[in-house]
Amino acid sequence: MKRIMLLILFLVPALCLAGETVKVKVQKASLFNQPNFFSKTVATLQFGDQLEMEEVVKDWAKVKFGQQRGYIHQSALTSTKVDMKTMLFSSSSSSGASQDEVALAGKGFTPEVEKNYGKAHPDMNYALVDEIERTSVDPSSLRSFIQRGGLKVSEGQR
């Protein structure tokens, strides 16, 4: 009986943690008024912002952020639920995890680790990497580039 109790105590966390809150797992993302990258931006979201999931439309999630409603591409979101199937059966570096990415931030390979790695390897030119990351494409210019090139704004592959 005691063994069964121990087993239940250990396994119960796997069967719980239901919730509808999702978090932004990227540095910056837009909340749009339509499920489209070039629709009006309702709000700019930051890493860790919590959203209330309302509906899924193809690759997009309709969410509530404070008093605002809008659409965000699902690749920018992480579940706050822990997916035990992923935890128990996934390979070490496989894709498609649905762990709480925000909770994992600050663990493992962090800016502090990078800083120490850079100190130990001065030949690594992180300033150049920063320079590449500062290169950004303005959304309105990109929209013009797409339209003038006879291309189209994708609504996703699925």
Partner: protein
């Protein structure tokens, strides 16, 4: 009985390892388990949670930065604003057609100043294309082919799959020992070593050995999907591969060392996504390509 139910319900409101710790604490106070059993269960829960976890989005970002920095020790960056801006426009267009348009740090495209023909996708979304490869492409659609293939590698996290299982297990085991939020000097030194090994694993796959056959075919499939979603001509994906294969008969190194199975990829790429005729590219697309191509 109420106590048993309480013990079982507590984990439903908190995180997994934390939940186990709360549950075991209640279990000890209720007399169901001993303190020693509690400690063993807590330790196992923390280890199980971390040992099984994949690389997080933020870790992917820092690994990618490390790989990019390593690539930049081998190649010089080509600093031409017109070329870099154009490559970023085409790249970000295909990103919008990919299944993973968002990564932690976003996608960034840069050009390497070498005649070697190649392109590299660092985990997290920094993508390099060489001037040699740019000289090989003849249209914006062919450039989109190259970039969308690399975006496909990022979307599928192929770079991370290069990390050896043994190394990642060591990373998570080290983290499982972590008790405080800040690392001790010894823990940090160990993590820095593991970080270097991880970056080296990915770098070797990207630059020296190349991805596996399955990963290349998967990236091709995603690339064709990206191109179709954005309105680029998928047939030009095949025409570029054809030309690369012809070139491979007289060349070696670069893309021909890291992407050896071109004939098989061409066969696999020929399908509905690359067969349908598309309207010719508008003048604007042709002109902007030609105007930029003279600078690479």
């Amino acid at each position: 009985m109420k106590k048993i139910i309480l013990v079982l319900l507590v984990p439903m409101f908190v995180g997994c390892a934390t939940a186990t710790q709360v549950a075991t604490t209640v279990g000890v106070s209720a007399g169901y388990i001993t303190e020693e059993q509690k400690q063993a269960m807590d330790k196992t829960a923390v280890k199980a949670e971390k040992a099984a976890r994949p690389v997080s989005e933020t870790e992917e970002y820092y690994i990618g930065r490390g790989v990019a920095a390593t690539i930049l020790t081998k190649y010089s960056l080509y600093r031409n604003q017109t070329v870099t801006a154009y490559v970023n426009y085409v790249g970000n267009t295909v990103v919008l057609g990919s299944p993973r348009p968002y990564t932690y740090g976003g996608y960034h495209f840069a050009v390497l100043d070498t005649d070697e023909m190649n392109a590299f996708a660092c985990p997290g979304g920094t993508i390099f294309v060489t001037r040699g490869m740019l000289k090989m492409v003849r249209t914006e659609d062919e450039l989109a082919s190259v970039l969308s293939h690399e975006v496909g590698h990022v979307a599928q996290k192929h770079g991370l799959q290069a990390i050896s299982n043994a190394r990642w297990t060591e990373v998570v085991t080290t983290l499982a020992m972590e008790t405080a939020k800040t690392y001790t000097a010894a823990e940090m030194a160990s993590l820095v070593d593991l970080f270097q090994g991880t970056v080296d694993d990915v770098f070797k796959t990207l630059v020296v050995n190349g991805y596996g056959r399955e990963q290349e075919l998967q990236a091709d499939g995603l690339a064709i999907g990206c191109m179709k979603a954005c309105g680029y001509d998928g047939r030009q994906f095949v025409s570029l591969l054809d030309r690369l294969e012809q070139t491979s008969k007289q060349a070696s190194g670069g893309i021909f060392a890291t992407h050896p199975d071109l004939a098989e990829r061409i066969q696999a790429a020929k399908g509905p996504g690359t067969a349908a005729a598309r309207p010719p590219a508008p003048e604007e697309r042709i002109v902007r390509f030609k105007k930029t191509a003279i600078s690479w």
